[in-house]
Each structure stands twice: as C-alpha cells, then as structure tokens.
C-alpha cells in the first residue's frame, strides 16, 4: 500500500507543478507588442475604392510575380480571385441582391482590399521557428526571407487573416506575401498599390498619421465636402481631390484587432460582410509566447524536473543493475 500511496503522491506533485506553471503565467507574462513610432503602413478606405484593380496589377509588376491562371488561359487577362503565393494583393467585392448601390448592405456592393495587414504583434513571426518571418524594428514591415525558410507553413496556418501563402505547385515552393514593397524603398519609392491608386482608397504613410487621418474621416458628417489625399500621406507626393464624405461604419479595422495592425481599414458596410471577422484585442502571439516563456523561461522548470528525475532514476536504476548482475 505504501508504494501505491507513494506513486499517487508523486504523480500528483508532478501534475501540480506542470499545472501551476501552465495556469499561472504571471511570472513571465508579456502583453501585446508596442508599435514602432516610425512604423509605416496603409489606410484602405472601402468607400473610395472603385474596384479598378490597378493596385492588383501594380503589385504583380512591382514584385515580379507571374500569372496565377485563376481565369481560363484563353481569357484576355488574368484576374486573381484571392491572394496566393504569386498574388500578394487582391480587391474583393461584396455584392447583395441587385448590387446596384455602392456601399449599401441591401442591394448594394462594396470593395475590400486583401493583403498583409502587417500586424504589430504578428502570429506568423511568433510561429516561425527559423526567423524567416521577421518584423522590422523600425518600419514594422513583416518581412520574409526564403533563404531561411524551411517551408513548414506554420505561418500560413497561424495567420488569423490567412495572408502568408505557400506555393504547393513547386518542388522548391516559397511563402508569398506583401512586404509593403520594401525592395522599392531604397529608391525612395513606397508601396506600389498606394502609388497607383487613382482615388486614394489605398493610402501609404506613417501609421501614426494614417490613424489620425482615419479618425478625422470618422468625425465627418456624411455628405459634407472634404479633401481626400492620395499616394503617400506623409510626403503628399500626389495631388488630393475634393468630394463628399460617406456614412462610415464607426470602426477603424486594425486599430485594436489582435493588438493592432499597420494596415487600417474604413468602410461603410459592416466589416463582417467584407470578410473580416471580429478578433480579440489581445494578440495570439503574446498568449503563445507567455505560455512558452512561463514553461521554458531560463529553462528553470525543465532543469528542475530533470534534476528531480535524475535523482529518482539513479536510486531506482542501481537496484535494477544489481538484479541484472546476477545472471
């Protein structure tokens, strides 16, 4: 009986250690990551988008991406329907009923841009085991390095927006996703999608300035004349235009979702209808890393358990050897 009680005691003690460590993560808890003051991003205003897809074509060209053959090969042009490893940016359409009225839920239509949101606390970066997905400490751009990548696709699975995509048709497939045209930045250029956008629906700039602009728009009374900047908000490289303000949904998507994103979105149709599910404010990566750091921080817990196990095993294995020596 003594040995059974012993067994139970040890089993309980072991489980309790692991349980405490799992359930009480306060010791090394980390909150959402903070945004860099120089972070850059995009502001997409669905009400300004006319669905011309100039941004889709410009993205393909700027990134040297091949056709996706989403449409039959005889067609005059290729129209990708979703982002893939070879298409980093698409414009999707919401259509209801007759689809006659822009930015209306009933019998209306609306456009939405789908591309990397450049999360402040990205799940893909937290998931990546080989630092192939990284976040630039200054610009905050979520960058991909194919030379480091092992192709495990943990980033593809983890992203709550379904953005990193893998090329399954190639024996050396890479991950593909928007990197905010960081390769054009040394030439003084910025994101091609914002550069070509004729209405300013996609606007490039510092996130702090984009956020202020988004907040300004939400205060506008529908119908009042206002100024719409285009291109790069921070440098004002392109002329703006004047037009009436729409009736926005009072929500800046990306301001708080999963700890905030560097791409902000405005719309006049509820975001859920535009394929944007509501998401919690706490980032998933902070939850995952808090758990990992609690269990493995400084390797304290594993080493303590190893020490205990070694001590017990040494006692018990000796006996075993003596028994074995008899034969």
């Amino acid at each position: 009986m003594a040995s059974r009680r012993d067994f139970l005691k040890r089993a309980l003690a072991g489980s309790a250690t692991v349980a405490t460590a799992t359930v009480c993560p306060q010791a090394s808890a980390r909150g959402n990551a903070e945004i860099s003051p120089d972070a850059v991003g995009l502001l997409f205003d669905s009400t300004l988008c006319i669905g011309c897809k100039a941004c889709v074509a410009a993205c393909k060209e700027a990134n040297g991406l091949p056709l996706d053959y989403a449409t039959p090969i005889e067609a005059a042009w290729d129209v990708p329907v979703d982002t893939t490893a070879r298409t980093f940016n698409v414009i999707k359409a919401y259509v209801d009923g007759s689809g006659m009225n822009k930015d209306q839920v009933k019998d209306g239509y609306a456009f939405m841009k789908s591309s990397c949101l450049h999360c402040v606390d990205p799940s893909c970066v937290s998931a990546c085991p080989v630092s192939a997905m990284t976040k630039d400490p200054v610009t905050g751009i979520v960058e991909y390095d194919a030379d480091a990548c092992i192709g495990c696709r943990y980033c593809v699975a983890a992203c709550p927006f379904g953005i990193p995509k893998y090329d399954y048709d190639s024996p050396t497939g890479k991950i593909g996703k928007c990197e905010l045209c960081r390769h054009r930045m040394p030439e003084g250029k910025y994101a091609a999608c914002a550069e070509v956008c004729p209405t300013g629906a996609t606007l490039y700039g510092k996130v702090s300035e984009l956020k202020a602009e988004a907040k300004r728009r939400l205060t506008l009374t529908p119908g009042t004349e206002t100024t719409w900047p285009r291109g790069n908000l921070s440098t004002g490289d392109q002329p703006s235009w004047n037009g009436p303000a729409p009736a926005y949904v009072p929500h800046i998507y990306g301001e708080k979702e999963v700890g905030g994103t560097q791409m902000l979105k405005l719309a006049a149709v509820p975001f859920e209808k535009l394929g944007h599910k509501p998401l919690p404010e706490r980032s998933f990566s902070s939850q995952s890393e808090t758990l990992q750091h609690t269990l493995y921080g400084g390797l304290v817990l594993p080493l303590a358990v190893l020490g205990a196990m070694t001590w017990v095993a040494k006692r018990n294995v000796k006996h075993d050897d003596e028994g074995a020596d008899h034969d």
Partner: protein, 388 residues
C-alpha cells in the same frame, strides 16, 4: 524495492518473410514511389494541402499522432524507473523499441512535409532558430529525445554483438539518460498541444485552450500505456506467445487512473471556460467531440472490474479505443476544429494516405525484424515456466 526475477530478453527467432512482412514491404515501396513524385513536382502533386489547410495528415498523423503512439517507452520507463515499479521491467524494451521507431520516423516524416526541406537544419542553428516559436521547442526536444532513445536502447545491440564493455559503460550513465528520456517527452508532447495556441480563434472553442499543453501531455502518457496493452496483445497473438497478463492487468488499472486524470482535466477546462455548450450544437465539431469522448469513456466501461481486466480481448479493445480517442483528439484539434474561413476544405488524398500507411508499415516491419533477431521480448520459456 523487491528484487523481481525477470525473464531476460531474447530474440523471438523465426522467418522474416511472411505474408504480413510482404504486405508491409509493398506498402513501404508504394510510399517511396509517391515521395519521389512529391520531391520532383512539389507537395501539390500528391497531397490535397491548400492555404486554408496547410497542415494535413503528414503533420497530424505522422508526427503528432505518430509521436503520441510512441509514448509507450516514455510511459513505461517512467513507471519502472521513476515510480520504482520494477515488476514492469520486461515491458520496457519492447515499448522502447516501438517508441524509437515511432519517433525516428516522425522526425524523418517531417522532412517529407517541409516545403524547403534542404534548410531543415536552420531550426537548430544559432542565428536562425527562434526560441519564441513553439515549433522550435518541439523540434529541439524531439531531436534530442531521438538521440537519447537510441542510447537507452543501445544495450540491446551491444548484447547482440557481444560488446560487454560498451554495454557496461552505457549502463553506468543510464540513469541520466532515463531521466532525460522522461523530461524531453513531457516537454515536446505538451508543446505539440501548445502549437495550436497561436492559432487563436481559428481553433474551435472545444479544443482551443491555454491548458492544451497539459491535455496533450496527459493524453500522451495515457496513450503510452494503451499502446503497450495493444502491442503486447498483438505481439502475443502474432508470435503465438503467452500474454503477460500478470503485468498487463495491473498496468491497465494505472492506465485507467491516468485516463481519469485526463477526463477531469478535459471536462473541467471545458466547464471553466464555459465552452461545453458548443458540444450540444448541431455541428460536425460537436459530433466529432462526442466520438472522441466516447473513445475515452469506453475503457472505463470495458475494464470496470478486476475480472474484466484479466480478459486479454478487453484489454486489447480498450487499449485500441483509447488510442483512437487520442487520434481523434489530435485530428479534431488540428483539422476538424480548425477553420481559416469560408471556401477551404481538406480531406487527405489517396497518395497522401498511402505515405502515412507506408510510414506506419516501416515501424511495424522494423519492430518485427528487430524482435525476431534482437533480444527485446522476455525469453518465452523462462517467463512462467510454461511449456509450449
């Protein structure tokens, strides 16, 4: 500790070529052919993987489930060496052997699934490795554990090849490798659950919880005992040996104890999080949840009395059902309960399944070859003095 007189392990002997090993060989060849296509034309040529379901059965079955099935060695070693239950010693070697191949193949299986496999070493290379990633933890621990298990098992080879000196040396340090061999699986079996935490709301509330590491760990230990029951019955039937009922009956009781801990944890967590309501929705996830739960509850019914636990058929079925419960828990958490949005679906392709079957075939074939040629299973004539 009482000094248990164990039957020393001995090779089973017999012919290696049989209808069973022939079928296993064919399955292995088929898998190799499919893998050749995969490496020449890419993952899309043979799998149904897509960007909505970037992980399929090569990850979930070959690695996550395969390694859980390979927990027999860990579970039994812990019982014998940590909880000092020396009477179970004869079960250690066969269990360890199955674990060795389960894990080694899980490690190899990862390579098939890696889209950029030639970079695989990055995961443990300073400068690339990212300790924030749960997958880094899994990879580091599994790699190390595979090495530790080969060391734990090495006395078997030394015995066979008469390398007494080497055997003595390894045995001197064995206590440390045994300790490592219990800590490392605790780490990565729990992390296999933690992998899903970063998926956030993409995982159904019936499976997404911060206690996933504990749920996966306890279930893996329980599965370890179930695998030993299942395997012992199968090995006894296959080799026409007597079943070690004097060990399996009490072992099944320990298994039920662990299973009880698991059930309290699993349902306690669902109740505390207020997620149990999802189990009563008319969804595929709810149905799969109950299937999973039935498999975990069934062993309690099947093995409810001491008499029932002395029935080898019941042990076999209960062990098998518990393993199935573990399979469902993992498939549900990683695939059925995983939702990246509308328009995505996944069911493994036939070639994909054939590769998985091939992987399990390698394990079984290796088990047969090694137990027939190397001293792994207890010597039959000495076991009970039973005449055959």
């Amino acid at each position: 500790m009482t000094n248990h007189a164990h039957a020393a392990p001995a090779p089973v002997g017999g012919r290696l070529l049989s209808p069973v090993t022939f079928v296993l060989g064919v399955l292995i060849l088929a898998a190799l052919a499919i893998l050749a296509v995969r490496f020449i034309y890419g993952l899309g040529a043979v799998t149904n993987l897509n960007d909505g379901y970037p992980w399929g059965i090569w990850v979930v079955a070959d690695v996550v489930i395969g390694s859980a099935f390979a927990c027999g060695g860990f579970s039994v070693a812990m019982l014998v060496y940590i909880f000092n239950k020396g009477e179970y010693h004869p079960l250690v070697r066969p269990a360890l052997l199955a674990s060795l191949f389960g894990y080694t193949l899980a490690g190899v299986g990862v390579l098939f699934d890696l889209g950029r496999w030639w970079n695989f070493w990055h995961i443990l290379a300073p400068g690339y490795a990212s300790p924030n990633s749960v997958m880094f933890e899994v990879a580091a621990c599994i790699s190390l554990y595979i090495v530790v298990m080969w060391i734990e098992f090495s006395p078997t080879f030394f015995e066979k090849w008469g390398m007494k000196n080497a055997k003595r040396k390894v045995n001197k340090a064995m206590f440390f490798f045994i300790a490592l061999g219990t800590v490392l699986p605790m780490m990565h079996q729990s992390s296999l659950g933690s992998l899903l935490v970063v998926f956030g709301t993409q995982i159904h509330p019936l499976w997404q919880t911060i206690v996933l590491p504990l749920i996966f760990l306890i279930s893996a230990i329980t599965i370890g005992y179930a695998v030993v029951l299942f395997e012992s019955c199968l090995a006894a039937a296959g080799y026409r040996r007597s079943i070690e009922m004097h060990l399996l009956t009490p072992l099944s009781k320990i298994m039920l104890g662990m299973l009880g801990v698991f059930m309290v944890l699993r349902f306690g967590d669902l109740v505390v999080r207020g997620a149990l309501g999802y189990a009563f929705e008319g969804s595929l996830q709810a149905v799969m949840f109950w299937l999973e739960t039935v498999c975990f509850v069934a062993p309690f019914v099947l093995l409810r009395s001491e008499a029932a636990r002395r029935n080898p058929a019941r042990l076999f079925v209960a062990g098998g059902l518990l393993m199935l419960g573990g399979v469902l828990l993992r498939i549900n958490a990683f695939l059925v309960g995983y939702d990246t949005g509308e328009g995505w679906s996944y069911f493994p392709s036939v070639p994909e399944m054939l590769v998985t079957f091939g992987m399990f075939a390698i394990e079984i074939l290796a088990y047969i070859v090694i137990t027939r040629r190397f001293p792994v299973l207890p010597r039959e004539d000495a076991a009970h003095g039973a005449a055959h």
